[in-house]
Amino acid sequence: MNTQQTESRVEHERLAELLGAYLDGELSPEQVQVLEAHLLACESCQQELALQRDVRTRLEDQSIERAPAALRQRIQARLEDETKVQPAHKQNKPRWWTRVPAWTGWAVAACLALVIGLHFALGRHINSQPIPMVTAALANYHQRLAGALPIADTVALSKIRRSLPFPVTPITDLQPHLIAVWSLRISGEPAAALAYRLDNHVVVQYVVSESVFFRQPRVRQAVAAHGLYVVSAGRDSVVAWPGPDNGSLLVGPVSVNRLESLHPQEKLL
């Protein structure tokens, strides 16, 4: 290998190291320019970039595991105890992985109480078993809203529309307030997410395939009876309705009635 080849190899390895950051939008414009010029001619870097993208896309779909309701109550109770006895110095307590969980008894009772409470608090269509597409949409909603949202533009929306085998129909009343779009997987299948500003909140419309939407009997029954499926989960509401060859789930921290007012078919594009 001559000097020129060695330099070229070193440059290739240096640029290959940047591919992950390039994909993540973490490079400077100058670095992007150099890397994109290199990518045009380098097949192995193109393959490496595809690998980086494939792994990232899959991990973005790794669903958030909801914390057990009893854990929240346990934490709140422990925090209240802490207030009553504010430690002047750090106490020499046994660590959590060696401790016998003394709270187990009342935690079970609290859990039972919460389950009973939820049964009455949650919406009219919810049952004891969560529906996977609803759980996935709620988890994605919380994950995305806790970070920076990708920018919505017509190119991004068109790209997502082209990549999906079903139509993505934004909600007419909300379309002027579209602030972000992204793709994801729900119930193992590709889906689209469209985030809108609604009053002082952000609501997200998850558009899924018809097969994902109608997979659960409870959804089918609710849609047959009421034209839509409704769930309240804590502060959040979810309203789901079928569209042309697709289904939409509208998620947001507003009342069910507010979300319902946006759903009717005649309001869709």
């Binding site: 950051a21 993540d24 790794q62 914390a67 994950q143 920076a148």
Partner: protein, 195 residues
């Protein structure tokens, strides 16, 4: 409950699911994840005055959980060399050179969440953590550098390399059943605990 405690809870409890999920990803046990997160909240309350920017409450909470997690690993000993990094790099290269149209994309799409979590627990900690923080949790590189106290160049390199390692793991364990993989992870972690 005092007003300060109400404020603390209002700020921090919205992140309970995310913290629990991240803990579960890394520990693989719901019970241990619950205990870790509970301890994190108690420590966070005790250190509440150290929170300088309320807009950055989640990275602050994550830092506290990370310290607790590091303490746990230090006491128990764990997986710095569960798998050969060299063999994973080789597996990733083999995968890139395989025939077919983007076989990795299809293989990954078919993998369940639990299997992905098991595979990540076979990776050395720093790499698994980089993927959880960026690709699962959605932190930016600068935030990850702040959380992990690592230079941004290191963060960049870890994320890129971690994706290669995970692709290598997916390829290397492609014919291993979920049950055998779980036993493999449990066995390795158990062996590490006993050293």
């Amino acid at each position: 409950m005092t007003p300060e405690q109400r404020h603390f809870q209002a700020l921090t409890l919205p992140f309970l699911d995310r913290l629990f999920s991240a803990a579960q990803q890394q520990l693989g046990s719901r019970q241990q994840a619950e205990d870790l997160v509970q301890e994190t909240y108690l420590n966070a309350w005790r250190a509440f005055t150290s929170l300088e920017d309320e807009a950055r409450v989640y990275p602050w909470l994550y830092c506290i959980m990370r310290r607790e997690l590091a303490d746990y690993y230090r006491r128990r000993g764990r997986r710095n060399a569960l798998v050969s990094i060299t063999s994973l790099e080789a597996a990733a290269t083999e995968l890139l050179q395989a025939d077919g149209t983007d076989p990795l994309e299809h293989t990954l799409a078919a993998l369940g969440n639990e299997r992905m979590a098991h595979l990540m627990r076979l990776m050395p900690e720093v790499f698994a953590e980089a993927l959880v923080l960026h690709d699962v949790e959605g932190f930016a590189y600068r935030e990850i550098a702040d959380i992990t106290k690592a230079p941004i160049g290191t963060v960049m390199s870890r994320i890129s390399r971690a994706r290669r390692l995970l692709a290598g793991l997916v390829h290397q364990y492609r014919d291993t059943s979920d049950q055998a993989l779980r036993q493999s992870v449990d066995g390795l972690e158990h062996k590490e605990v006993g050293r």
